[in-house]
Symmetry: C2
Subunit: 183 residues, 2 copies
Amino acid sequence: MSEKPKILNRKIVAQSSLFRVESMNLEFSNGVTRQYERLMRGSGSNGAVLIVPMIDEHTVLLIREYSAGIERYELGLAKGKIDDGENALQAANRELKEEVGYGAHKIKQISSFSIAPSYMEHMTEIILAQDLYPEKLPGDEPEELEVVPWKLDNLTELVSSGQCTEARSIAALYIVRDYLLKN
Amino acid sequence: MSEKPKILNRKIVAQSSLFRVESMNLEFSNGVTRQYERLMRGSGSNGAVLIVPMIDEHTVLLIREYSAGIERYELGLAKGKIDDGENALQAANRELKEEVGYGAHKIKQISSFSIAPSYMEHMTEIILAQDLYPEKLPGDEPEELEVVPWKLDNLTELVSSGQCTEARSIAALYIVRDYLLKN
């Protein structure tokens, strides 16, 4: 593996409420220089969590939610930002209560994903939630979310149905399926 | 499932060489209105491909590449943009030759992923490449990429090693592992 490129300079070149774009000039260890643009997390962001809530040892609870990025309803895992003063596990349990209507007695981080590492700095913590109990907290969703139980041995069907396209949800579901088989 | 929200208005609120940010006002079927920001593909973009190249029926070829977004070297699948005049399969075969040094006699789209559907419109076509033969095309990479063979029955080790964090690569590898078991 090569030595990391040197960052010659960096500056913010575009900004909105949610996004900041940074331009970086890099010098690779072979002397080649390149300019890159990457998307930064919003200022003050603490990162994000994706939750895999198991209602029994074979069944995960998915949600169906409108996804403004691709302008359609998607089936996927609950997720959200880590608020100030929370750690990832606390954020996951809060989002689980807001979006799915359950809390978890047993909650554990099992992985950490990048989204598009070549041009985004964002990372998402993957949280397995088990031993669930009903508890609903009011969330900030514009409408009630539909909760859809799905068997982990039907992941191929979930993906091929075209209802669940998000790489983070798909990767997390496969990892949890393997994890539960081994533990 | 609810009826899709109405888009009341939309406008570009930030722009750089690579990114455009759109602000949208939506009215949900229950009458609630919300403002969303989402990241648009660059103008003239044809989308992107992620390639799963199998050098034999058990072994995938990964590449190790510097990822400017997270400022470190990552192990993952070859990927790239679809150029003007190419379809997804042609783009995948070209990127495979540029980044991995192989062409594929057998090449097939097996899935399509969103990256962050709540705030990005980007989709990635997942391409399985088999029956490989050596062929190197010059690419636009700033340095030579390291090619790393990896056994598909060691995916848990790949993820837990922390060397491969990208959700798209992880999801594609699990889907291909299942697909090859069934086909």
